[in-house]
Amino acid sequence: MAITIKDVEHVAKLARLEFEENEILAFTEKLDAIVGYVEMLNAVDVENVDPTYHVLPVKNRFREDEIQASLERDAVLTNAPDRRGGCFRVPRVVE
């Protein structure tokens, strides 16, 4: 297998996801199958081919720097799981 349990554990950490041991095993297998499948792209010669980030020739669209109304603070905070004093509240970051 190309994908190892260690790979899955590393990627899970990067993605901020946690898995049980049996889930890691199942994921390793399923991910390995998918990665094996997408590796068929290795056969394609892409020398001198530019990547397509946007299918249409649109780039850096600018607008006038004018002040416009934005959402009310209270409306933005209504969905916050925890808030205080008009701010999002999170666990302590700096000890």
């Binding site: 990627v11 499948y37 792209l41 892409v46 530019d50 299918v55 409306a75 799981p81 999002f88 666990p91």
Partner: protein, 487 residues
């Protein structure tokens, strides 16, 4: 015209309103009566908005009484996929992560429907965050196919497809990243259009894969599709990828004449894995086009076979990046217990996302991680260029391409849930279109054992009008658009 109000097309309902034959309130009540009858069998909706809908209907009737008319959608009941933001109304993406999320704003398409006087009846079920091909990945319910409730409606916009097919709405909005409008339209016997990338604003659509996502309509026939496109297409300053151009009148494209139209059949879309009855139905449609005066020739999209791997790298990579925002801080689910900041993120995401979403985040994170970016993401973006060039070349000699939409008719619920790769194959004919960014429509072209078969018409960038014309002409000479499931 059909006897029962819920069986009407959108334009039939519209005509009845205009003639004073029905009120919007009567129409809306008829739709909710239908919803109450069929919803226990198909589970198309996550949220129903009966009171709000009746209020909009009363407002529409009052406007009509004053002699006001906002156009073709005024007073007409419409459903919206539950990944488009609606002010104050739950927008869940069929995920535990957003179960209690009530957006503080309307997505642009929602605002446009409201401005057009449409009556919004509810928010429809989907595969979680639009990731899936069967609507079995919803955190809340499994939607069923109105033609046979043992079968899937397709996905990810399965609720939007099932609702219109069952007569629970006159039209609906879906989103399509790799086939999520066209494949369920095919499986439920509807017209479904994925517009050109950039034609319809994505502002307020919860992002899955930003370079592929596009919003489009589900309707019972081609005329209704044109009506919906007139309402939702157009430039939006709030979507940096939306395109500024003159807006066409899509209804003007409804011409029953395909004389001289050049239709290409890309041979790669008729290969292994496509069921014989599906190939036969699409070839029979090509014959009908010839008798109507179009020319049909075989063409080639040589890199079509790479579409699925390109798609799974690009879509997963962009999804892993887009879904990083779900961290339990600003909105959505937060895990009840955690130790510190990082643990808050990890516990929230682990408990909030379902299995398929996690699988794609993992694949995308892997593809974008240090040392693999060039091998996977950048490589896929380059092969994407080759595939897009294939379409450009094909459109030098033909006006539209005709292919199957789904390789098979609907499959049974539970049949493919354990095998993601097999599930991904459902999108083999639809993902190349998102990769190239061109528009494509699925429309009904036959039946196999009581389940609908769909064909796909693909056009050049921003040439929805030619697709609509070709689809309209076909529909005028066949009876598939008149078929309704007996539910």
């Amino acid at each position: 015209m059909k006897n029962k109000m819920y069986e009407w097309t959108l334009h039939e309902a519209r005509q009845a309103l205009r003639d004073g034959q029905v009120t919007s309130v009567a129409l809306t009540e008829a739709i909710f009566e239908r919803i109450e009858a069929v919803e226990p069998k198909i589970d198309a909706f996550i949220t129903l908005l009966k009171e709000e809908a009746l209020e909009s209907a009363r407002a529409a009737d009052a406007a009509f009484a004053r002699g006001e008319d906002l156009g073709d959608l005024h007073g007409v009941p419409i459903a919206i996929k539950d990944n488009m933001c609606t002010t104050g109304i739950p927008t869940t993406c069929a995920s535990k992560m957003l179960e209690n999320f009530r957006p503080p704003y309307d997505g642009t398409v929602v605002a446009k429907l409201k401005a057009a006087g449409a009556v919004i009846v509810g928010k429809t079920n989907l595969d979680e965050f639009a990731m899936g091909s069967s609507t079995e990945n919803s955190a809340f319910k499994v939607t069923r196919n109105p033609w046979n409730t043992d079968y899937v409606p397709g996905g990810s916009s399965g609720g939007s497809a099932a609702s219109v097919s069952a007569g629970a709405a006159y039209a609906s909005l879906g989103s399509d990243t790799g086939g999520s409008i066209r494949q369920p339209a095919s499986l439920c016997g509807l017209v479904g259009l994925k517009p050109t990338y950039g034609l319809v604003s994505r502002y307020g659509l919860v992002a899955f894969a930003s370079s592929l996502d596009q919003i489009g309509p589900f309707t019972k026939d081609v005329e209704d599709c044109a009506i919906m496109m007139n309402a939702i297409a157009g430039y939006d300053v709030k979507d940096g990828t939306s395109i500024q151009q003159e807006k066409p009148d899509y209804k003007a494209a409804l011409i029953d004449d395909v004389k001289g139209l050049r239709i290409g059949l890309p041979k790669e879309f008729f290969g292994e894995g496509i069921a014989q009855e599906v190939k036969d139905a699409v070839h029979a449609a090509a014959k009908i086009y010839e008798t109507l005066g179009a020319t049909v020739e075989e063409v080639s999209i040589p890199n079509a076979g790479y579409a699925l791997p390109i798609y799974y790298i690009i879509a997963s990579s962009e999804c892993s990046s887009n879904l990083a925002r779900f961290d339990g801080v600003r909105y959505g689910f937060r895990a009840p217990e955690f130790e510190d900041f990082n643990d808050l993120f990890a516990k929230t995401r682990t408990q909030g996302f379902g299995e398929e979403v996690k699988r794609r985040i993992m694949l995308g994170t892997y593809a974008l991680s240090s040392g693999y970016y060039d091998a996977y993401y950048n490589k896929a973006m380059k092969v994407r260029t080759l595939l897009k060039q294939d379409f450009d070349r094909a459109f030098e000699s033909v006006d539209v391409l005709l292919t199957p939409t789904s390789p098979t008719v609907a499959f049974k619920i539970g049949e493919k849930t354990d095998n993601p790769l097999e599930m991904y194959m459902s999108d083999i004919c639809t993902v190349p279109i998102n990769i190239a960014g061109v528009p494509a429509m699925s429309l009904p072209c036959g039946f196999s054992e009581g389940l609908p078969i769909g064909m796909q018409l693909i056009g050049k960038h921003f040439d929805e009008k030619t697709i609509l014309r070709a689809a309209y002409a076909y529909e005028q000479h066949t009876g598939y658009a008149q078929q309704r499931p007996s539910l």
